[in-house]
Amino acid sequence: MDTTAKRIVKVLILFCILLGSLVLYLSYFEIFVVAKIQDNPYNKRQWMREEYVLRGSILDRNEKVLASSIKQDKQQIRNYPFKNLYSHVIGYSFKEYGKTAIEKNYNNQLLGIGNSPLTKVKDKIMGSDNMGNNVVLTIDHTLQKNADELLRGKKGSIVLMNPKTGEIYAMVSKPDFDPNTMRDDWQDIIENKESPLINRATTGLYTPGSVFKMITATSVMENNSNQNYFCEGKTNIGGYVLKDYHSIAHGNVDLEKALIYSCNVAFSQMGIELGEEKLKSTAQKYMFDKQIPFDIMSKKSIFSEEVKMTKTELGVSAIGQGKVLVTPLNMAMVASTIANDGNMMKPFLVKEIINSKNRIIKMQPPKILSHVTNKENANKLRDIMIQVVEVGTGKKAKIKNVRVAGKTGTAENGSDKEHAWFIGFAPANDPKVAIAVVLENEGKTGGTSAAPIAREILKNALNRVQ
């Protein structure tokens, strides 16, 4: 070949590279980029479909309508009959502000997009009725209303769930907003310093305080670590003086006594004796530092960042202070794990999806998310939690004729007002419901403020849930 021919071939190769790169880029775009951009409000396609498909309804577990759409002069109006009550569970769907929560994550199902190819062909031939699918939640409307009323005027969150299946019965986050009037209130909502748009139940990160001791206690049992300590009311860890509530000295304590009286001194020593690795490993079994798969957006609870902990940090982490942060959902799951023989169930909000003719298209079966500990340890922890409610810090959660297991927490945080916590379940011998209550910056102990709220909800829940 002469030089000219060689050069021509090289140019041909250049063209192969140029055109080949187009093919590669297109494939890359389709596989990695598309999912990120498709929901952009400027993509009119998603709204096109919404014009001719009637958006499906969202129902509670007893098929009470929580959100529905009606057609009015070719336009659809989304109606949320219970206003603020489901602002964080169901969310909203607006052209201007986008979508959140169930409205966002189940958008395709609500619009009937992605039904099986067979259905599509059938629709084409038979003519589609242009109705989206309905989403049935695991939420019980009565319990949700009840939880909402008990939290009224406060800041914080309640998560009520079935410990054996992972179904969420109620999920409340306060403050909230009314999606019906969002167009008018938008400015107020986004400028509100209390951030009503945030779903505290799944994305609010709180210092857990003493409720975290359930995790430390699990780790002590799992690792057969030392369970006996002496409490003088305060202790010095690496130069940092850690005190008990009112500096009360508990004397000789074992694990049971330490939990019942929520002894900080004993637990911080337990944490140090366990070491970071073991405590962290148990925390991660409880899904700390991990993304919990859930039907709406949720954040990871944080036990530790990558850096190694100092002795002081480890000591305070073991009692749920320091850098430890949790979501209320995760704490409800911690209570559920102990109620469910040490197995953590995957939490879920959507029970099933039914089409406009009431046929079930998809069901969500219960799934085990994590094996945290064995049945024996779980039962021991449960027995201690019963004692916490019977004689310890959680007395205000006691219900007549029903055994309640629980743990309180009073978490110090950046402000001078503590978060009040209660996690627990009932009935203790055959748990039907598990709960987490957190009152943000309540300034009172968990035993005095969160426990009575939990008690009311557990009591009502036991009457409704069979």
Binding site: A5, I8, V11, F15, L19, L22, L26, F29, I37, Y42
Partner: protein, 412 residues
């Protein structure tokens, strides 16, 4: 008879099938009886079939080129028809006109001798065309590159593209190594590009640059000169991206269209939504919404193809261009006549690179420059000029009878 027709493996038969099937799809999805669809199909199919047949009889050259291009045009017509039946019908007419021009150019270029001698002629004609555009031209999309004659808009730069290739070919065929000759040559080339810059036709300017570089790379003996040109070109490109607002906007829209989604980035993001909506297999013809993209039938036809025929449809179009480019360079390799060898390289490069920059532009791989996708986009000038170029390429694919006084092709 029918069996024989079905068993016939001639590619144009397959093409006919593709066209009939896709028009049937169009008819099926549009759900309205439209006689014009029927007429269009018959017209299109007949044109493709007959011209392929004629070509087989008269040309001893490459027979794949025309088939590839027929397929590309078919895809374009189907898509344009689906977007707007009026435009679709017009495009079929333009397709017919394009084929007429194809044959006219084929015969003229083949019969008339002495193309390599008119170096100055090409230059003078192009400059006249440029000046005419500048004076009579109307502004469309920020670029002054259209003139209106009797209600029909013509884009002279489409014709100048071919003349430019002829100019380059003629220069290197007659090259005599005189120093001032080279400077004159460079001056002429840059005056082409400068004119395009003035008319804000950045896409075409890029194509001219690229064709110039490629031919320089293959034929220039002074290798250093090539690097100087490429470096110079890059510097001009970078400087203009900072100084000239028009160029700046393109870069902004490319770099982060999401931030300027309301204005500069609107078109490109709409294009990306369309491509994304199609997935690998497309929504099906008539089932997507490519009409959300402004100018979808011209510059953004590729996005519409991706939405309704899928990424695989898009890849098929790219592959057709790759075949076209491959055949083009193969023709260049086999051609002994130096002038037509360069012409073949020039035309192939023009078509291939134009396809690359517009496809790369609409998928946001490179900054967007508004040029048409050859043979596919809506537009008479583009289609006719592309077919004319193809007619010339067809000539180049045949053995050229040597003119008696110049037999250098064999000896060099």
């Amino acid at each position: 008879m029918m069996k024989k027709f079905l068993m016939n493996k001639m590619p144009q038969t397959l093409l006919v099938f593709v066209n009939i099937l896709s028009m049937f799809l169009l008819y099926f999805y549009k759900e309205r009886f439209d006689k014009s669809i029927l007429i269009s199909v018959i017209l299109l199919v007949a044109t493709i079939y007959i011209s392929n047949y004629i070509l087989l009889k008269i040309s001893s050259g490459d027979h794949y080129l025309f088939l590839v291009v027929s397929m590309l045009s078919s895809i374009g017509i189907i898509m344009i028809y689906r977007l707007n039946p009026v435009y679709g019908f017009r495009q079929i007419i333009w397709f017919g006109v394009g084929i007429v021009f194809y044959f006219i150019f084929y015969f003229c270029v083949k019969r008339i001798k002495g193309w390599k001698k008119w170096l100055n002629g090409y230059f003078i004609i192009s400059m006249i065309l440029f000046v005419v555009t500048q004076v009579l031209g109307t502004k469309i999309k920020g670029a002054t590159n259209w003139i209106r004659i009797g209600g029909i808009g013509i884009q002279p730069s489409e014709i100048i593209k071919i003349i430019f290739v002829f100019y380059l070919a003629s220069y290197y065929t007659n090259y005599t190594k005189k120093a001032n000759e080279k400077y004159k040559f460079l001056g002429v080339v840059y005056s082409y590009i400068a004119f395009l810059f003035i008319q804000r036709d950045l896409g075409t300017a890029m194509i001219f640059c690229f064709v110039f570089f490629i031919i320089l790379y293959i034929y220039e003996e002074d290798r250093k000169l090539i690097y100087y040109q490429i470096i110079g070109g890059l510097i001009i490109g970078i400087v203009s991206s900072f100084l000239i607002h028009h160029v700046q906007v393109r870069f902004i829209a490319w770099f982060n269209p999401w931030e300027y989604i309301e204005k500069e980035g609107y078109q490109i993001t709409q294009s990306l939504f369309a491509i994304g909506a199609g997935g690998f297999f497309g929504t099906g013809i008539g089932l997507g919404h490519p009409e959300f993209i402004p100018e979808v039938h011209t510059d953004f036809i590729f996005s519409a193809i991706c939405e309704e025929m899928g990424i695989f449809g898009g890849i098929a179009v790219i592959m057709l261009f790759l075949i076209l480019v491959y055949r083009g360079f193969k023709i260049a390799l086999n051609q002994y006549d130096k002038f037509f060898k360069i012409v073949a390289i020039g035309i192939t490069t023009t078509l291939g690179f134009q396809a690359f920059i517009i496809v790369g532009g609409v998928i946001k791989m490179i900054p967007l420059t508004g040029v048409t996708l050859p043979f596919v986009s809506y537009g008479g000038s583009s289609l006719v000029a592309s077919f004319a170029a193809l007619g010339i390429l067809q000539v180049a694919s045949e053995e050229i009878q040597m003119e008696q006084e110049e037999g250098d092709g064999y000896n060099s």
